[in-house]
């Protein structure tokens, strides 16, 4: 196993070195039958920073993200939130700790309007009838949706139009908005720019920056190194299920990152 390059100053801002990271993973292992997807990965992210998780196909990025979002249960490893040891094993547990996930396929209902999608499964309402016959609090949801979208400057033509009529970038923004509605501390973004054109990609990357600036910790999976360099504070490389280096953006070059992704000097051989 190649020793990962030493990381100098794991946080972009020196003051943060005194605080524990919002999320810290130590020695995470995950096996699927005979296949080992993760072999002792360490990972951390501070509030207010964007960490990009990069690696070749099958390197284990998605598995790592899923252990954080709770979709996958790690076989071994320790998780710390704000310095306290926690157990992550279900989407509910992760959500309760303030971890929100934006899936690559966005998981939007195209037939429903923007507000309905933002509140999907977490509708607000009340009324005299019990359970699922509760009345939807349409005005309350609209007010809260508008407030959240304004806060991070997401512009959509109309909140009561079906999502089907929106552009790819607007849909991505709605999916992010949905994650933000409940005030998460960490937002996981899985390939947010994969399906987007140049202009929309720029809009989404701006949105990612604004998330970090408003104090959220952001973890971004991306195949696009230009996007990663445009937006990340740190770049964490995973290779063959293990850490292959973490770079501050200021120190990193595309060559260094690609070398780490593909296994050091064996770029041609890989």
């Amino acid at each position: 196993m190649v020793t990962p390059p030493t990381v100098t100053g794991s946080s972009p801002q020196q003051t943060r070195k005194n605080d524990p990271p919002f999320l810290e993973l130590r020695g995470v292992h995950k096996r699927y039958g005979g296949v080992t997807a993760l072999r002792g990965v360490d990972f951390d992210v501070w509030a207010g920073e964007v960490v990009a998780l990069v690696g070749d196909n099958g390197a284990g990025k998605s598995t790592l993200i899923k252990t954080i979002s709770g979709a996958v249960h790690a076989d071994e490893g320790e998780f710390f939130v704000d310095g306290k040891r926690v157990t992550l094993g279900s989407p509910h547990a992760s959500a309760a700790l303030g971890i929100a996930t934006v899936y690559q396929d966005l998981a939007l209902c195209e037939n429903l309007d923007v507000i309905s999608n933002l509140f999907l499964g977490k509708e607000v309402g009340g009324g005299p009838l019990p359970g699922v016959l509760r009345r939807l609090g349409e005005s309350a949801m609209q007010a809260r949706a508008r407030e959240t979208l304004d806060r991070i400057s997401i512009n959509v033509p109309s909140l009561d139009r079906p999502v089907a009529g929106l552009s790819g970038g607007q849909r991505q923004a709605i999916a992010v908005g949905r994650a933000l509605l409940w005030g998460p501390k960490l937002v996981l973004l899985d390939e947010p720019t994969a399906a987007l054109g140049v202009q929309q990609t720029a809009q989404v990357l701006e949105l990612v920056r604004r998330l970090a600036e408003s104090g959220q910790a952001v973890v971004l999976i991306s195949h696009s190194l230009p996007d990663v360099f445009a937006v990340a504070d740190r770049i964490c490389v995973i290779r063959l299920g293990a850490n292959a280096g973490t770079f501050l953006r200021s120190d990193a070059t595309v060559e260094k990152v690609v070398a780490a992704m593909t296994g050091g000097l064996t770029i041609e051989a890989a």
């Binding site: 966005l106 209902c109 309905s116 999907l120 977490k122 009345r135 609209q142 508008r146 407030e147 009529g165």
Partner: protein, 402 residues
């Protein structure tokens, strides 16, 4: 600019964009109920010009009776199809519940309440069974209910027995399909409905004001006013014949309840979500399987109601109650009303309009002395025409990016 600091300005901006958007959306083809209403007016003008008896109180009263069973089933189709499922057993369940009701009342001398409870129980039970097989075993509802379509029709014959029909003389049951509200009752009921809608709308206005949204007082006033005028006109017109039929009140009440559930409750929102993107709904924590089972159970319950109404109107149950033509007319009515076969799209009131179109064509052709064959051909042609227009409209909208 944030809503917190400048709510009025922010909403004024939204309102302006909203109005422009609405014009653009309208121009590019999201026409809502307009095409169906235009089609309906066209059908009425056509038949009125051919036969002056078409738009009389007597004939329109008959029309509401003729459409009752199809209307109830068309609403069931909307509930199930919006969830992305289909219930092909509706006609057969109508038949078997009618048969059960007839046998319990006439042969077994059950009390009205007990017989009705058993009838609705059978409807819900069949719906639950089909829903559970669909969700738990994972057989598509198309196939489960296709099996049901055959099996429940067979059960209907077995329940009725070899005679093939059975008279029902129970006065309560017979009243449902054949009695009319006394004028003062009808007016009181209409006033109560308008008052109830007004109260609900005022509460919603106050809710919107509380959250700083535009209260839309004028729109609400217009809505309540229009409802009052429409109900008054309907009651006055029907009073020129025998009055307002019980069944009209029945299926409009069912429509109001279902429409409210679909548009205003968590449950309704979940149904649209499951039909729109089941995987997204599942990840959002919506109990997708339970929603599917519930929609098929509601469908069974409504088929039971259709069975009761059929029995009442016929003063009997017979092997001919329900069946495939009724099922297909109900699906056609829902689809003419814009319900999508692929789930996620459909409105209860639109299914009622769709039923009105089909019933008007059949009623009008009957008045003109046309045979049943012409009625079927016309109904089929209208179905394909309506769906084609909707499909073309959709393609135009996709091209316009709306």
């Amino acid at each position: 600019m944030s809503t917190a600091s400048e709510p009025a300005g922010s909403y004024a901006r939204t309102l302006r964009v909203g109005t422009l958007e609405r014009v653009r959306v309208f121009a590019s083809g999201d026409l809502g109920p307009l095409p169906v209403i235009v089609g309906l007016v066209g059908v009425w003008i056509f038949f009125q010009s051919k036969n002056a008896h078409f738009l009389t109180a007597r004939n329109l009263s008959n029309l509401t009776l003729q459409m009752a069973v199809t209307a109830i089933l068309a609403m069931a189709v909307v509930v199930v199809m919006v969830a992305g499922e289909i219930d092909l057993s509706l006609g057969s369940v109508t038949g078997v519940t009618s048969a059960l009701l007839g046998v319990l009342l006439t042969n077994d001398h059950w009390s009205t309440a007990a017989a009705l409870a058993a009838t609705f129980g059978l409807g819900i039970g069949i719906g639950l069974l089909q829903g559970l097989v669909t969700v738990v075993v994972g057989v598509p509802s198309f196939l489960v209910t296709l099996g049901g379509f055959l099996a429940w029709a067979g059960l209907q014959l077995a329940v009725i027995g070899p005679a093939g029909n059975l008279q029902v003389t129970n006065s309560t049951i017979v009243a449902i399909g054949n009695n009319y509200l006394a004028p003062w009752t009808a007016w009181t009921l209409a006033a109560a409905v308008v008052a109830a809608v007004a109260v609900v709308e005022v509460l919603r206005v106050r809710d919107r004001q509380h959250y700083g949204a535009p209260p839309r007082v004028w729109r609400v006033a217009m809505k309540v006013g229009l409802l009052a005028v429409a109900l008054a006109a309907l009651v006055a017109f029907l009073d020129r014949n025998f009055g307002v039929p019980y069944v009209l009140v029945l299926f409009l009440a069912v429509g109001a309840i279902l429409g409210w559930i679909m548009r205003r409750t968590f449950f309704g929102r979940y149904i649209y979500a499951v039909g729109g993107n089941a995987e997204a709904a599942r990840r959002a924590g919506i109990p997708v399987g339970a929603i599917r089972v519930a929609t098929l159970a509601i469908s069974g319950l409504l088929a039971g109601l259709a069975g009761v109404v059929s029995t009442s109107m016929l003063y009997a149950t017979s092997a001919n109650v329900g069946g495939s033509i009724l099922l297909l007319e109900a699906i056609a009515a829902a689809v003419i009303g814009g319900t999508s076969l692929f789930g996620g799209r459909g409105r209860i009131y639109m299914a009622l309009l769709g039923t009105l179109v089909i019933a008007s064509v059949q009623n009008g052709l009957g008045l003109l002395g046309q045979s049943a064959s012409t009625e079927d051909i016309a109904t089929g042609a209208i179905l394909v025409l309506a769906v084609s227009l909707d499909s073309l409209n959709r393609r135009r909208r996709a091209a316009a990016g709306v």
